[in-house]
């Protein structure tokens, strides 16, 4: 389809603004734009149809099964959207006087209270805009903690080799050196290796639990104790919290600081890549270092933004974070309540186990006995024997109208597919998908050569990613020049 720049005609457009009711002011020559400004010149009809066409080329949770492991693509409730669009939230200026934003502050206070209870933490900040941003913020808290104690040489963050890529990247951004800790062949943190790696230079340890293989770390108390004994702190990557709400809490496992992904566990939409929200919770020992401002409740029951917090790491984002995402998450928590959140986690784990159980005789599943809310398939054998890769299997799924699982993650499993069905899928969907998965596997074994051509029924086939990266074309040029 054409780009918006290739549509329309000079002189077309939408009539949106009135003529000026005050004298027009001209900018002085010195600062006046000379460079021609090219933007689309399209009528509202063309614009509307353009995006409807783009919409039809986009696959959302609303279109079908979306089992992206570690991404928790659950249904995004519509009431959340409606509430977030209310003028009482959407039209509030962030710098309004405090007594005119008590509702916004109440949203954050309630969300803080509820998330603290769900995770076993004492305080939360909503400034971080996404999970990775939360990791960075949480690690800054850890650094501030050690610095306040005069431990400047604690500059190492331990990270399991199964961790999300953001973990090591965030640690480096926060000024740490990363030490990778290997996993055992059963997919757990290698406790002995961890013991060896922990020492008086350890600032902290980052872990997802259940881990990225969908397994709950059975030795979690021993693990967090090793780090505490060494003088370090434990960081909980909340990407997989959807497995344990109301069942177990990071705070009770020995974690000192957590980030959550409201756009995963708490049902806010992914929006094609964002905005998310990555609130960070911590135990009291880290509360002094939380970003500024924080919200406190005055004696008169009013909420107050406190800016001059001694010890605070400062600010990681303008204003107060992705506020409207927090509004959506709070709406969700209020809807589900204490019973509903637990039921959501239980159902997520049930759906994953159901799928895994019915697939394990077909697909090689490295850890087939049990899983939490997600499980991992390895197609290493299939690749060796038939030359069919995880990518081939994923692309075949596209032709069946289902979104493939996360591919090639975690890195420690060769040819991995990571499946997280979530709790919001029906049994019928799971049954259909199980059949499709089996059918694809059979085809891969019987006709491996055919697998390389998938998908055949999508708008485009597999794009040439090598060409895209070698000679990047990253924008349209009105003058026809190539980049």
């Amino acid at each position: 389809m054409k780009l918006i720049f290739e549509k329309g005609m000079e002189g077309r457009g939408c009539t949106l603004l009135p003529p000026s009711d005050v004298p027009l002011i001209q900018l002085g020559e010195k600062h006046k734009r000379k460079q021609e400004l090219h933007l689309p010149e399209v009528s509202e009809t063309e614009l509307s149809r353009h995006y409807t066409e783009l919409m039809k080329r986009t696959f959302g949770v609303n279109d079908g099964f979306y089992p992206l492991g570690s991404c928790t693509m659950k249904y995004n409730p519509k009431i959340n959207e409606e509430i977030a669009k209310m003028p009482e939230f959407a039209d509030i200026h962030p710098l309004q006087p405090e007594h005119t934003i008590q509702g916004c502050l109440e949203v954050m206070v309630l969300a803080e209270k509820y998330l603290s209870e769900i995770t076993g933490m004492d305080r939360f900040t909503f400034q971080p805009a996404a999970g990775a941003h939360g990791e960075y913020t949480g690690l800054q808290l850890i650094r501030a903690y050690h610095e306040a104690k005069g431990n400047v040489k604690r500059d190492k963050i331990l990270v399991p080799d199964s961790a999300h890529g953001t973990n090591p990247a965030s640690a480096v951004m926060a000024g740490f050196t990363v030490i990778n800790v290997p996993s055992t062949k059963d997919g757990y943190v290698d406790v002995e290796e961890l013991r060896k790696a922990a020492g008086d230079d350890t600032a902290g340890f980052m872990l997802t639990n259940p881990n990225t293989l969908g397994l709950f770390e059975e030795n979690i108390l021993e693990i967090t104790e090793i780090i505490h004994q060494a003088g370090g702190l434990n960081y909980y990557d909340g990407a997989n919290l959807n497995a344990i709400m109301g069942i177990a809490r990071p705070g009770d496992m020995g974690f000192d600081v957590v980030h959550l992904n409201l756009h995963k566990t708490f049902s806010t939409p992914h929006g094609g890549g964002g905005p998310g929200s990555g609130p960070v919770g911590c135990k009291e020992i880290l509360a002094d270092y939380l970003p500024s401002p924080c919200i406190i409740e005055n004696d008169d029951g009013n909420y107050h933004l406190e800016f001059n917090k001694e010890g605070s790491i400062g600010r990681v984002k303008a204003f107060y974070g992705n506020f409207l995402v927090v509004v959506r998450a709070l709406t969700y928590i209020l809807t589900l309540g204490k019973e509903g959140l637990k039921h959501a986690s239980e159902s997520a784990v049930l759906n994953a186990n159901y799928m895994m159980h019915h697939l394990k005789d077909t697909y090689p599943i490295p850890f087939p006995d049990k899983c939490m809310h997600e499980f991992v398939i390895s197609l290493e054998e299939l690749k060796k024997e038939k030359g069919v890769t995880a990518l081939d299997i994923a692309k075949a799924m596209l032709d069946h109208g289902i979104h493939p699982p996360t591919m090639y993650f975690p890195l420690i499993i060769p040819e991995a597919l990571m499946v997280e069905p979530t709790e919001t899928e029906t049994k019928e969907t799971l049954d259909e998908v199980i059949e499709i998965y089996k059918k694809i596997y059979k085809e891969a074994v019987d006709h491996p050569e055919a697998m390389r051509d998938y998908p055949r029924n999508t708008i485009i086939g597999r794009p040439d990613e090598v060409a895209a990266a070698r000679k990047p074309v990253l924008r349209y040029r009105y003058d026809g020049a190539s980049n």
Partner: protein, 442 residues
């Protein structure tokens, strides 16, 4: 209680049986007894949709929605075309994931590609990324792009938005980077003092145009100073102003960044907003975050993909220069639809109107005893005045009339008000505001 779980308890029981389990607890045997909660969460019980709706509306009512807003300071109310809200509410766009599966994500990918193109057209730059969290983090990320082994010093200007300075200080705090701030004079960066701070260890210079106080900085001359010492030049810009104002490229910038909120995104109590980043081609591979590129499929059909991914954290891990993963994609789409709807004429008109309204507001305000322009330089749609008497009393009076007045500055600017006007502020509104202030100032 509300629930989005479709399967009934009976179906769940059947599912359990089919996998050889008796009850749901049997799935959680992996969790050691010692870390189990074994009690109910101390949260309220769930609610029906109607109850939740009422509850949230009640909370919302505790906020004051101002009819008339003359406050900016980093968050700007502009007219948002209906089509922007409609398009960005389409469920496919709202509920899709990051477009890693290109074959079923051409819609989102093309929209990002179009967004990148328009950010380049606005700023005059060669390449743009798919967005970062906001303007302040865009500034911090831009600084990291400029660091070199022998250039670890970053020069900021005092006239940046204070949040930008705070975020940069935070991002630089763990790294081996020296941050210095060039002072201002008469609301603009002091070039002489700036020059003394620039040296051959300086990685980059960051300036905001128009600056926090609304003043237009001498970005040509300041860019020449940066170039003179071999430092990269970063300009943080207001995208609406680029309808009439010189582009960062024209000022000689290597990187253009900014807060994209004015492009069709509601005030939202500060977020989600939109950080945009664009650069000259030679810095392309240093841009953080996702980038969409054009390519072809095996049949030669045009296709869009996420590209240059080997820069990113999921591949480069601890060697990545940024950890960003989720960005602000739907906000980027909002900005793209806004720019499509406005077109170059519309954007220029919005910029002209904003500037004209601000000047009219300033003229009218300064007719009142005690309101004086604090700075004399050229400005776009924000300006600072003095205030007769107590600032809070004056602003409080406006508030009683449903008007959010200018922003009361603090610190050494105590007693001054930062005003803003955009195309949404009618002459009538401005005249009303002025009439109220005349009463107060007497």
């Amino acid at each position: 209680m509300g629930s989005y779980i479709p399967n009934t308890l009976q179906e769940q029981q059947e599912m359990l049986h089919s996998i050889g389990k008796e009850q749901i607890e049997d799935l959680f045997t992996l969790i050691p007894e010692k870390v189990r909660l074994n009690r109910e969460l101390n949260l309220p019980s769930g609610l029906s949709e109607m109850e939740v709706s009422n509850r949230m509306r009640k909370i919302g009512k505790k906020n004051n929605v101002f009819k008339s807003i003359f406050r900016g300071a980093g968050a700007y109310r502009h007219y948002i075309p209906s089509i922007v809200k409609q398009i960005t509410s389409k469920e496919e766009f709202v509920t899709s994931y990051t477009p890693y599966q290109a074959e079923i994500s051409q819609g989102v990918l093309q929209s990002i590609y179009e967004f990148q193109t328009m950010i380049c057209e606005l700023t005059g730059m060669d390449v743009a990324n798919a967005s970062v969290y906001d303007g302040a983090t865009a500034a911090a990320e831009a600084i990291v792009m400029c660091l070199e082994r022998k250039r670890r010093k970053v020069v900021l200007t005092e006239t940046l938005h204070p949040h930008t300075i705070e975020v940069i200080n935070n991002y630089c705090s763990g790294l081996d980077i020296e941050v210095v701030v060039a002072p201002s004079n008469q609301g603009k960066t002091d070039q002489q003092q700036l020059e003394e701070l620039l040296d051959d260890r300086t990685a980059c210079l960051l300036i905001q145009q128009p600056n926090y106080y609304g003043q237009l900085e001498e970005c040509d001359e300041i860019g020449a100073l940066a170039k003179g010492c071999g430092a990269k030049y970063i300009i943080s810009c207001n995208p609406i102003s680029l309808g009439i104002l010189k582009t960062p490229a024209e000022y000689g910038a290597d990187i253009a960044i900014g807060e994209g909120q004015p492009l069709g995104i509601p005030l939202s109590f500060g977020g989600p907003y939109l950080g945009f980043m664009a650069s000259k081609e030679k810095l392309m591979r240093k841009l953080p975050g996702r980038i969409v590129g054009e390519t072809k499929d095996a049949l030669g059909r045009k296709a869009f993909v996420l590209t240059l991914q080997a820069r990113e954290q999921h591949i480069r891990r601890e060697k990545a220069s940024s950890n960003i993963c989720s960005n602000q994609a739907l906000c980027a789409m909002t900005a793209a639809v806004y720019l499509d709807a406005m077109g170059s004429k519309g954007l220029t008109q919005a910029a002209m109107l904003s500037m004209s309204k601000a000047h009219y507001l300033a003229d009218q305000l300064c007719k009142i005893n005690g309101f004086k322009m604090v700075y004399e330089g050229e400005y776009f749609n924000e300006f600072v005045t003095s205030c007769p008497g107590n600032v809070n009393k004056v602003l409080g009076e406006l508030e009683r009339h449903g008007i959010l007045g200018g922003y009361p500055l603090t610190g050494k600017h105590e007693g001054h008000i930062l005003w803003c006007a955009t195309e949404v502020n009618t002459k009538e509104e401005i005249d009303t505001l002025v009439a109220i202030l005349k009463e107060v100032a007497v």
